[in-house]
Each structure stands twice: as C-alpha cells, then as structure tokens.
Amino acid sequence: MNIKELKELIELIQKSQIAELELEKSGVRVRIKRDRAPMVPVPMPEEAPSAPTVPVESPLPQAAPLPSTVPAGWLTLTAPVVGTFYRAPAPDADPYVEIGSTVKKGQILCVIEAMKLMNEIESEWDGKIVEILVENAQAVEYGAPLFHIEPLAPA
C-alpha cells in the first residue's frame, strides 16, 4: 500500500459514516479510527519478527491518553493512583454517577483499587458529569483522565 492509496482511503472514510476501519494488504495492516481528534492513520506492521516481547504492564487495556482538546470550561478529574477503575461499589450495584449526573464537591465518583485498597475518589467540584473517559474494571495509570465535569459556577 502506498501513500496515495492511503490518502484515498482516508478521504473515502472522511466522506462516509464509518467510525473505524481496519484493512490488511500485502502484510501491512492499517487501522483508521475516527475520533473527535483529527484523524491519524496508524500503520501497524503485521509482525515485527525481531522485536523482543514487550512485558505487558497490565492485562487490561490502559486508559486512553489525555485527549488533546477539552472543551473550554470543562474540568478533568484524573486518577490519583494506579489501579483498577470501578464505577460502582459492587458488580451488581448502580454506578456512583452517570453522564448527566449533577455532583457535589466531595461526592464519590468512582473507586480505584490497588492491592485491595479501595480508594474512593471524590469530586473536586460542584458540577455535571459530561464525559466518563474510562470503562468499568479497566486499569488506569497515575494521572489518567477519568471524568470531564462541567462546573456549576465558573472555576
């Protein structure tokens, strides 16, 4: 696959409703994912034969990296510890918050578990949950963004 083909492919997807596309051709795999951020094609070599095995830091998918753009006025609550993110106190319990929930400063938004220490993470602001950036039971790194909160009063 050459650059021209790749460019055509991107243009095609831009015009379409496709959110994500993965294509394999002559041993090269390309995944194009549509996001709020500008689209970037990610060429993924099928196999890197000589590359050493990279130790897996965690078996669970890591939290997404910091999005480059956060709408003005939104605040980001980040993970104060490394661990597993839970949206509810128990698997069969209701989540602490949903998108659209109004929260108060000091209200518990989630739990991050590390070494069986359940860290209940409190909101730092009064506001509304506008985005939940991590899936339940997913591993998060220190500083990973967890929630976008629209403050009630300008921060």
């Binding site: 095995t53 897996v56 597993t84 069986k116 359940m118 209940e120 993470i121 220190y142």
Partner: protein, 281 residues
C-alpha cells in the same frame, strides 16, 4: 484457664471498652474506642465517624455485624460472641500511591500478632488474606477517601475468625475457611488478641511511614504463601494461570504465564492452585 479454655462450651468474654483499654499498650490505636453490640458494618460506621473528624487511631468494634462487608460488596460472615470485627481510622500523610503498600504491611502485622497469640504459623495469601494450615482465618478490607490527590482518611477493617466453630459454616466453605480455635484446638481470648493486634499494627504503622519499601516487601515476602506457587487469577470477566514470581515495588503481584508473558496483578482475586497430590480434604 487452660482447662476452661479447652472445654467446648465457653462463656464468651463481653467486649467492653474498659476491658479492651485495660492493659492496652498503645499510644493512639484503640485509645478512642466505639464498641457496639451490633452494627451494619464497622467499616461503614468508621467512615461516618471519620467524616465527622474522628481522630487517627479511633477503633470501631462490634460483637456482630448485620451487613459485614468484604471486597466489592461481598458478604463477611459475622456471627456474635465468637469473632473480632473492627475498623481503625487512619490519616496517613503523603503520596496515596505509596499507601497501597500499607495493605501488605498491615496484613503482615496482623499475621504476626495472631502467630504470637496462638503459636501457629500465620501465612499470607496475596495481598491481604491470613491463612493458618492453608485456610483463611482473617481478612482485611481497606477503604480510603481521596480528594485532590490526597488521602482524607483511611479505614482499615479487620475480621478475624477467633472462636468460630467450623460446623457453623456452610459445608462449601469448610475447606477454605477456618478459625484460630479450630486450628489450634484452644479457645482464644478475644480481648487479648485484639490488644496484641492493635499494638503490633501501631508499631508497623509508625515504621511504615519512614521505612523504605524494600524492607516492608521483604518482611511480607517471608510470610507469603502465594509467591513461588501456581496461581489462578480471576476477576470481572478474565482469568489467567501462572506462577506468582514476585512483587513490584508498589506491592503488586508479578504473574508469569505459561507463555512466559508477565502480567502485573493489582486488584484481582488470586486462587492458589494446589497440585492434586498434596490436596487437603
């Protein structure tokens, strides 16, 4: 005392604040004491007290819990008169990241106190279950509240099966759960054990704040029943088996899978896989 202690029918000592404080050699842990005959969960009560500003070292204890909790909302069996159920409010300062190690340090301290009291080796299943003869006799539940990257307070909940008779347990649990009385053949003084646990924890808590992680990890490793053995790890929707190879500096478990890949375990349930030829009945 000995003949009385070994008799099957024993009169349980009432857990009163005076009896607990009498001879308790601590500076802070247990000096503020809330004792209940029954409460939903000592951890929940401790949270409420901590939010109202209860001092560090406050202990909440109940003779029975109506909704005793384990990890992720699981039930902790809490019959009256026989066991210990208590929670300690702590206010550690510094990096919340480091406090994960406190799980290991605290479990080690409780194991040490139990070992001294009953004279049987107490081992640790990663990270915070206490085993005697491969059966669970105590567990810890740690819950902290974090705001703006700082721990506001931490509740350390401890449940010890002291004089529980295993015939009181559902049959399905008798292979995996036991009590100090069951394993030692002797009735154990709950108050003396509680005092010893609080004393050992206080010493451990003080050194935890200043000691390098390596020292805490070495002490824990010496008591670990998980390291070096085959384990199965399972939690919400995934499962791996492998050898528990070691601990990271933060106290997470390093699992080496059969395909040689390394997995770092921070939160999942660990099951010790026992080769069938040494399986216990």
């Amino acid at each position: 005392m000995t003949s009385q202690a070994s008799s099957r029918a024993f009169r349980s000592q009432p857990l009163t604040p005076d009896a607990i404080r009498s001879g308790l050699k601590t500076e802070r842990l247990g000096q503020t004491l809330h004792v209940y005959d029954r409460t939903e969960s000592t951890n929940s009560t401790a949270h409420a007290l901590a939010k109202k500003g209860a001092p560090e070292g406050t202990v909440v204890l109940a003779n029975t819990q109506t909704r005793g909790r384990g990890r992720m909302g699981r039930h902790w069996i809490s019959p009256p008169d026989v066991n210990l159920y208590f929670s300690i409010i702590l206010r550690p300062v510094g990096d919340p990241q480091r406090v994960g190690l406190w799980t290991l340090a605290a479990a080690n301290a409780v194991a040490q106190a139990i070992e001294q009291t009953v004279g049987l080796p107490a081992r640790l299943k990663w990270p915070n279950d206490l085993l005697i003869h491969h059966k669970k006799v105590a567990g810890l539940l740690l819950e902290s509240v974090v705001q703006k990257g700082q721990i506001r307070y931490l509740v350390l909940g401890i449940g010890v099966n002291v004089n529980l008779l295993c015939e009181a347990l559902p049959k399905t649990l008798r292979n995996s759960i036991s009590s100090l009385r069951q394993e030692s053949g002797r009735v154990v003084d709950r108050i003396r054990l509680l005092q010893r646990i609080l004393e050992t924890l206080e010493i451990q808590y003080r050194s935890f704040q200043v000691e390098p992680p390596g020292k805490i990890l070495n002490a824990y490793t010496a008591r670990s029943e998980t390291l070096g053995r085959s384990v199965r790890v399972q939690d919400q929707g995934h499962e791996w088996t492998g050898i528990a190879e070691g601990l990271t500096p933060e106290g997470a478990l390093i699992l080496r899978r059969r395909d040689r890949e390394e997995v770092i375990i921070r939160s999942d349930d660990v099951v010790h896989v026992r080769p069938s030829h040494v399986a216990r009945d």
